[in-house]
Symmetry: C2
Subunit: 339 residues, 2 copies
DNA sequence: CTGAAAGCGCTTACAG
DNA sequence: CTGAAAGCGCTTACAG
């Protein structure tokens, strides 16, 4: 579907000019704050523009060679606090700099990612902030190179194709949780996750978790699904499945806090005491803000900091200020009352 | 700050044309799927476009009079599940229709709202989906009228300035909760909220809640703040304040579930038994997905449905299909284990 | 200090 | 079936 909007925007620069008794050129200068224009003319033009409700047609403006102030931000989904926190921090930093953000969601789908990037590029943005953690299509990369659009990547610091790359080390996160489980003396451990084929960062964490356990002779039982939501419900289903087959499991690490909560529900309903009989740990520390009594053991980091750094990265690409091309965000293990 | 991107996009229609041995005009037709072009030419042009990595310059395209496929969606914040659910449903409906969404956040701030609307309009979108519930500036309305851009409003069905308006009746929501509290025989009731000056829909709910209680001779004690977050922390602070002054309060209705959880925490820490000694209720049913044991009494509705209807509204504005100008979303009281 | 000219990359409407 | 012309509303670079 496509929509016809030819009737829009009647007021042009020369309309304003006519009302103010000057040329379109002068109006353009006044509105952009360029050139030496007498205060008196300035005011007259401004008044005329206000009266007519003039809004610059960015389409024309950018096409003519003006500089863009639009920054496209692509996140997997706005429904995840991790990304909406990052987004929020980006906005907070970019707006005062006079930059406008346009947001898109990819749902971890490389095809949608391509479409969104292409949409963004079609309005010739100043820069793009893209999330990593997916297998981006070759066409998408090609497009980006072709347009020579500056890109800051967030969340993935392994595939560092872009100008600046900011995020946690997912391998370290997996290792950190494995060390915690090992320090508790667990011998039989499970991992629960979903959509690991799409989310390569989550897969990286799971692999590092497994490797670190194996190195100490502890085997990991994976219970994952590609078709379940990465929410509490998915966690419930998979936890039931895991406990049914391996009732003697001692600890479970989940892809995220939401799924871990699903694990908590199943434990509660089956009368399994956590952490006494079963340890449960999540990732991303997004659930504790909603807790009354349960405080999950999880891995946390400053999402706001990632967003702020990404936005600063965008600015630095133009001010010429030098910043690190790869910026690793520190992570921390928060021990709650579930391990 | 502003960014120079003059070096971008080298490949034009005529570049593709040269490679394919046809005019720019023919390329344009092939790419848009218009006109009668022999299959052989079509393929040659397509191949050339692919080879060069051509992407339509929407700036030029729209300026020349093409129809836009961009829909701007403005929500207060992506950090609230209510809005990110609506957003998600909008995307799900709009993408298959070939429309692209551009998202912005207003933070309930009328000045930011104006800026965002203005940004959206500057790229001449096909339509806009705007959240209501704030005191929109007169300039913003003026801009919208001037551009004759179709607008679907969500969340507010009281101020119905726009083409289509979709949302719950906030007055009914307040009344519904009052009736629940009355049915429990409560005589001393509190209300906890924040930023009611910005969020006029929340204010409407609070007022309706108060009015319905008063009509039955029950007084309401309001404990609100304009400078606290509408999160659990804000709920904690205000609940402490309320209970310190009115220890004999029997039930508290909160602006949202997040704040209500703050109330639950305070009750838990003070050893107040919920629901036996104190009833607690929220609004928007966003917390129960995170619960292990606590299930808040709250008011729910289908946020996905609101998003779907909003997107369908956008489409209907162009297909000419007639839809109701005001669509009231049904609400339901969900009784958990906190009242 | 001010504006006429040229051009950004497309699409519409029209001529061949 | 195909393309040369005109124009969308701006800005850049330059002349007065």
């Amino acid at each position: 579907m496509t929509i016809n909007n030819k009737t829009n925007q009647k007021v042009t620069l020369s309309d304003v000019g006519k009302l103010a008794g000057v040329s379109a050129m002068t109006v353009s200068k006044v509105l952009r704050g360029t050139g030496r224009i007498p205060e008196e003319t300035r005011k007259r033009v401004q008044a005329a523009a206000n009266e007519l409700g003039y809004v610059t047609n960015q389409l024309a403006s950018l096409l003519a060679g003006a500089s863009s102030n639009m920054v496209g931000v692509l996140i997997p989904t706005a429904r995840d606090v991790v990304y909406s926190d990052i987004l929020s921090a980006i906005n907070a930093e970019l707006r005062p700099a006079g930059l406008r953000t346009f947001i898109g969601e990819s749902y971890f789908d490389p095809a949608v990612d391509y479409e969104q990037v292409s949409s963004f590029l079609s309005i010739r943005p100043a820069a793009l902030i893209l999330h990593g953690g997916i297998e981006r299509k070759a066409e998408t990369i090609k497009l980006l190179k072709k347009q020579a659009c500056p890109v800051v990547q967030i969340w993935d610091v392994e595939n560092t194709d872009f100008n600046i790359n900011i995020g946690p080390s997912h391998a370290d996160a997996g290792k950190l949780m494995a060390e915690h489980f090992l320090s508790l003396g667990l011998k039989k451990v499970g991992y629960v996750g979903a959509e690991l084929e799409l989310d390569i960062c989550a897969a990286q964490r799971a692999n590092a978790f497994e490797d670190a356990l194996k190195a100490q002779g502890v085997d990991l039982i994976r219970c994952v699904a590609e078709d379940l939501p990465r929410q509490a419900e998915g966690g419930e289903v998979l936890t039931r499945r895991l406990l049914d087959h391996y009732p003697d499991i001692q600890g479970i690490h989940y892809l995220n806090d939401a799924m871990a909560l699903g694990g908590m529900r199943v434990s509660y309903e089956r009368g399994i005491s956590v952490p006494d009989s079963l340890k449960i740990a999540g990732f991303n520390a997004t659930s504790n803000v909603h807790s009354v009594r349960t405080k999950l053991t999880t891995i946390n980091m400053s999402y706001l900091d990632i967003g702020t750094k990404a936005a600063k990265g965008v600015v630095s690409l133009y001010t010429g200020e030098s910043v690190d091309r790869v910026q690793i965000e520190p992570i921390v293990l928060e021990r709650g009352n579930t391990t």
